[in-house]
Amino acid sequence: MVRMKAPRRLLGLFAFFLLALQAAVPARGAEVHDPLEPLNRTIYGLNELFDVLLIGPLAQTYGELPQPLRTAVRNVLDNLSSPVTLVNDLLQGEFDRAGNTFARLFINSTIGIFGLFDLASELGYPAHKEDFGQTLAVWGIGEGPFLMLPLLGPSTVRDTVGLVVDRGALDPFSQFAAREVAAARAIGETIDTRHRLDPVIQDLRRSSLDPYATVRSAYLQRRAAEIRNRRPPAGERGYEAIFQEEEGNGVANGR
């Protein structure tokens, strides 16, 4: 839910999770692979606490800024993430998309004034995002167990590896930007993302029977959709099975 960057420490965290995985009990036949559920739930609770105390209120204040200013912030952040998308487009063999991303980066960084204005979208170069987690998926690597990361929110082993590679190797801004700039970007990314997700989060807290299970399911579905480049799940085997199984188990049984 909340995205924040802590590149060096992430590696340590990642090692910790790998160790924890060794000791994990196998999943109990659920649809999702979540062997670390008890630990994940604890971390989810801490993230929620942190959100209620700090991130949520900050995001609310941010929401009171004028819309054009917030749009400019979003545009700058998106432009900063373009190089990672570009490299991953290339790694996935999506050369048309890579060309599109390169055009966006070039247009918005120059006449868009350091990305303040998203002129590329208006010129017919729509935005999209790729990351190394998606690249790994395209390369055929499974998502692995679900993980709830401290501060960073829902993830999987594959997506956590992806995040570490994106931040640690593929992202020029993580590599070369001054500490203060990197921190400002991380904070901006966190607050802006939290602000945009606010209706969803409010809805979740109000109407979900089990918010942790909802977040986990929604995250895994959303990632699958991003990896498919956003086509609906129709035709996916697991999804279709849900709608076939009630054959011969008619509605009348419930009446």
């Binding site: 299970a213 399911s217 799940p233 129709a234 009630e246 419930g254």
Partner: protein, 205 residues
């Protein structure tokens, strides 16, 4: 689709010409035809819902009552509830099934009531539809918001012998049925079906 089976070529061709003259629509394989009708159904549904939401002359209770009438007509909540409960439906007793459908329906209405006031002038656009199988189609729409990026919403529509019902809503790749199934399975796995029913009652209290 008799022309696909063993009828002889000539009569098949003549029949096709006849059908074409009668209004080419029937030449399309049935699921595709159904998918187009499903898109029309979603479009009409959207128009009716927007008409209620934009009706500022009626009070809140009236608008809510009209929305819930549309809901009953345009969905089959019993079917959706059964999909949400998944394999636990089979294990449930008659009374538990009835109770679950009843609670599920009341939770949907409660959520609808809570969301009624957050309507902020959104509109929609039907982008197209595909047939998934003989019964189901996915209708793709885009919800256009006054502020913020549009949201991609896909509607799974089932043809129940000529009557269309929405059986799933997929927002930006996240399916309502899949998500609620995951919640239900989680709670039943932890505290049994009675635990799930108790949690639903608690939410309604």
């Amino acid at each position: 689709m008799a022309w696909q089976t063993g009828v002889d070529r000539r009569s098949g061709w003549q029949r096709r010409k006849l059908i074409l003259a009668a209004g080419g629509l029937f030449l399309l394989p049935r699921p595709l035809w159904s998918a187009q009708a499903a898109a029309g159904f979603v479009d009409e549904l959207g128009r009716r819902v927007l008409a209620v939401l934009n009706d500022r002359s009626s009070d809140r209770a009236t608008r809510l009552a009209r929305l819930s009438a549309i809901l009953d007509e345009a969905t089959d909540l019993e079917l959706v509830a059964r999909l949400v409960l998944g394999r636990y439906w089979r294990e449930a007793s008659e009374a538990q099934r009835r109770e679950f459908v009843n609670l599920y329906r009341r939770l949907v209405l409660k959520t609808m009531s809570e969301r009624l006031d957050s309507y902020g002038g959104e509109t929609y656009e039907v982008l197209g539809s595909v047939a998934v199988d003989e019964r189901d189609s996915m209708v793709s729409t885009r919800i256009i918001r006054p502020a913020g990026e549009p949201i991609a919403v896909d509607w799974r529509v089932r043809n129940l012998g000529g009557r269309f019902v929405v059986i799933d809503i997929v927002a930006e790749g996240v399916s309502m049925v899949v998500t609620q199934r995951s919640e239900a399975a989680e709670i039943v796995g932890r505290s049994g079906l009675e635990g799930l029913l108790a949690e639903m009652r608690r939410r309604l209290a």
